[in-house]
């Protein structure tokens, strides 16, 4: 499946790139800007400064796929929680413009109207298989749309930095931590 939903007349690739705001661009293509205004919540989820309830399903589906091989299955739930904590901490310190871009990326992944067409995951994130997720990541990495390639790169960096900044991640990579001084 290609990204034909985005071949809407008048919205060229160049146009999309110029807009530079992922969520707005995709919503505009879907002709749903007006009806979806205010749809994405901005209140943080319980225990978080930035991450919202709407962000958690896709992150909880994505993180175990990204950390597969680095974390034992029985430790994965704790690793997901830890990664979410670190991710939230860094998001809470991003510049407003970078946070805006990241939140728009998250909105595109969270909202059914954009998720299906862009990731190929039409059902809920809870029901997405690891293969479904790998396919979506592969599709974004090789997309003809630079916004999706940028989104792919962002997701990898955010999750990897989040996990490997935590001491629990270090046994796997043989890092004893900073010296005691």
């Amino acid at each position: 499946m290609n990204d034909s939903v985005l071949d809407a007349p008048g919205l060229s690739r160049r146009g999309l790139l110029k807009v530079g705001l992922m969520g707005t661009a995709f919503l505009a293509t879907a002709g749903l800007t007006a009806s979806l205004t205010g749809c994405s919540a901005s209140t943080p989820a319980n225990g978080f400064a930035i991450l919202r309830d709407s962000d958690l399903p896709f992150l909880k589906a994505l993180i175990p796929v990204m950390l597969a091989g680095a974390v034992k299955p029985e430790q994965m739930p704790a690793a997901i929680d830890g990664t979410l904590q670190n991710l939230d901490y860094s998001l809470n310190r991003l510049s407003p413009e970078m946070l805006k871009l990241t939140v728009q990326l998250f909105d595109v992944l969270a909202m059914a109207v954009t998720r299906g067409p862009l990731t190929g995951i039409w059902g809920s994130w809870e029901n997405a298989s690891a293969d479904d997720i790998r396919h979506f990541l592969d599709r974004w990495q090789n997309s003809s749309l630079s916004l999706l390639r940028m989104g792919h790169s962002s997701l990898l960096q955010l999750v990897m930095m989040g996990w490997y900044g935590r001491p629990e991640a270090w046994a796997h990579c043989g890092y004893p931590g900073p010296p005691k001084i």
Partner: protein, 531 residues
């Protein structure tokens, strides 16, 4: 606490500082000279002017963090001490740009490498960019002065294994290599320079020029972002600053107005052009923000039988300039070879991929080396170059456009790094590119590299040196300031930072900024005296 916190002790003795995040009312501050930015240029300028008897006010957008705050933890240091919470990247998101954002600027988080501006660079500026008074002979005493001031000397301890790999490989191949001079005194050889030096060994502005300034009665305003210059005709009449919250993310709503006789911008590349643009400063030839360069970086990882532990030890101690000037100053894209330190969070994002692939790479971290190539952009007309733009909220972003000329340098750098790593005994090498896996022979590396599609996102690119955007030069149609750092259109405004460079430097830039701004500040002190 391993060492006394010198800055905290100074504060206890009465150094005058203002914490923007704590203001509950707007504030007006006055000084003889107001300096925006506390990095290499701002610190150097402040020390010289305050020693000459001027009342100096330093203005820093970032937080004040000192040695007792530095815990050598990536998760804490990156969001706290780096621009945009380490979120700063090129406009297309392809290049992560590491720049400091705290008292001390990028000198607080750099890896201590200190090189004089290469002679070919200075000569190129004189010849092609109408720069006067900065020949190698004229600059030498200023480099000397700042080398003395900041303890710059070739690193005396043995290089860690990560760095020694450059030496071993270059020796085998007959390539140039040398020991890197570092601005440290009593360094413990820990390797956490990038997270703030916990022992005060790194001679950053935080522990040298800023304390000297504050001792002399200078003042420091931090967590205050210089938003706009207030301009009346050809004079700056004030700086309007936004107080920032303690995370340095959101303005608190309080403003600080600064009034001075002379104003100096030392925010560095990207930031200084942004101030001029937000202020609608006169710019008849549209030069502000143009010709911003970044020493674009690409990387190569390698696995060794022996233990490397690339996360410990002085991060940079060996370099090679073998491919920096071999085609002259303006031939094909050239590069300087060094290594980055590999603490886990940064490494995980460098090594690429996810899941099993990334896990296998990270598992070998203790046996992993990485090399980087600093591409010398800005010398050739076909070099990649950047332009600073303002985003919706007035904050800057760098639009850096790649070119074939530059990609050619990237590919050759991949080849060279692989060659050196195998010559040093690597079992396998991994050019850092989405389509590359570890390969076991140089022959395989060559085929792999020749076949890579060199495009953004797929190629891991970075930058830790932002230069240019407010070029100096005698021709106002090309430059924002003259060769003395004086703004061409505004009489009481100077720029003293790396944004003055007409091209990239061709070496880690801090000493270039120290030397140049020491000269400019000394000349400014003299001009103010006779004004």
């Amino acid at each position: 606490m391993p060492v006394p916190d010198l800055f905290a002790e100074g504060l206890a003795r009465g150094w005058k500082t203002y914490n923007g995040s704590r203001l509950d009312q707007d504030l007006t501050l006055e000084a003889d000279v107001a300096i925006v930015g506390t990095g290499a240029g701002g610190g150097t300028t402040a020390e010289i002017l305050s020693a000459a008897g001027y009342k100096v006010l330093l203005i820093e957008e970032g937080p004040l963090k000192t040695s007792s705050d530095f815990k050598m933890q990536e998760a804490e240091a990156y969001p706290s001490l780096y621009q945009e919470g380490i979120g700063r990247m090129s406009k297309d998101g392809a290049i992560t740009i590491m720049q400091g954002r705290a008292v001390g600027g990028t000198t607080l988080v750099n890896w201590t490498s200190s090189f004089r501006t290469p002679e070919p660079t200075l000569e190129h500026w004189a010849k092609e960019h109408n720069v006067k008074g900065h020949s190698p002979a004229e600059m030498a005493p200023w480099f000397e002065k700042m080398e003395q001031r900041l303890g710059v000397a070739p690193w005396i301890m043995p290089p860690n294994v990560n760095n020694d790999i450059i030496r071993l490989g270059c020796e085998k191949l007959g390539y140039h290599w040398k020991v890197i001079p570092r601005n440290v005194r009593g360094c413990w050889n820990l390797g956490y320079c990038g997270m703030g030096c916990p022992t005060n060994a790194k001679q950053s502005m935080l522990v040298t020029t800023i304390p000297a300034t504050l001792e002399k009665g200078g003042e420091l305003l931090y967590l205050a972002r210089a938003d706009k210059l207030l301009i009346d005709g050809d004079k700056v009449t004030g700086i309007q600053c936004q107080a920032m919250d303690e995370r340095c993310v959101a303005p608190t709503g309080r403003t600080i107005t600064v009034k001075a006789k002379h104003y100096v911008l030392s925010g560095g590349g990207i930031n200084t052009p942004a101030i001029l643009m937000r202020s609608d400063a006169p710019d008849p030839h549209k030069r502000a923000g143009k010709r911003t360069f970044i020493h674009l970086v690409n990387f190569s990882a390698a696995q060794f039988e022996q233990v490397v532990n690339p996360f410990y030890g002085a991060p940079q101690s060996i370099y090679s300039d073998h491919f920096q000037w071999d085609h002259g100053t303006t031939g094909r894209m050239s590069f300087k070879l060094e290594v980055p330190p590999l603490q886990p969070a940064l490494t995980a994002t460098l090594l690429g991929r996810f899941g099993e692939d990334n896990a296998l790479r990270m598992e070998q971290l203790p046996h992993t080396n990485a090399m980087l190539a600093l591409l010398r952009d800005g010398f050739h007309p076909e070099s990649a170059e950047g332009t600073v733009e303002l985003r919706g909220d007035g904050s800057p972003v760098l639009d850096y456009q790649m070119t074939d000329y530059t990609w050619d340098g990237v590919r050759r750098a991949f080849h060279t790094m692989a060659e050196i790593q195998f010559a040093a005994g690597a079992k396998s090498v991994l050019p850092l590119h989405a389509d590359a896996g570890y390969v076991k022979t140089l022959g395989e590396a060559k085929s792999l590299i020749d076949g890579l599609s060199l495009e953004i996102y797929r190629t891991r690119l970075g930058s830790a040196h932002v230069m240019g955007g407010c070029a100096m030069g005698e021709d106002p149609s090309q430059a924002v300031t003259d060769s003395l750092g004086r703004h061409h259109q505004l009489g009481n405004l100077s720029i003293h930072d790396g944004s003055l460079f007409p091209t990239s430097i061709g070496a880690n830039p801090q000493l270039s900024v120290y030397g140049l701004t020491a000269q400019l500040a000394s000349q400014l002190a003299e001009r103010l005296r006779t004004a």
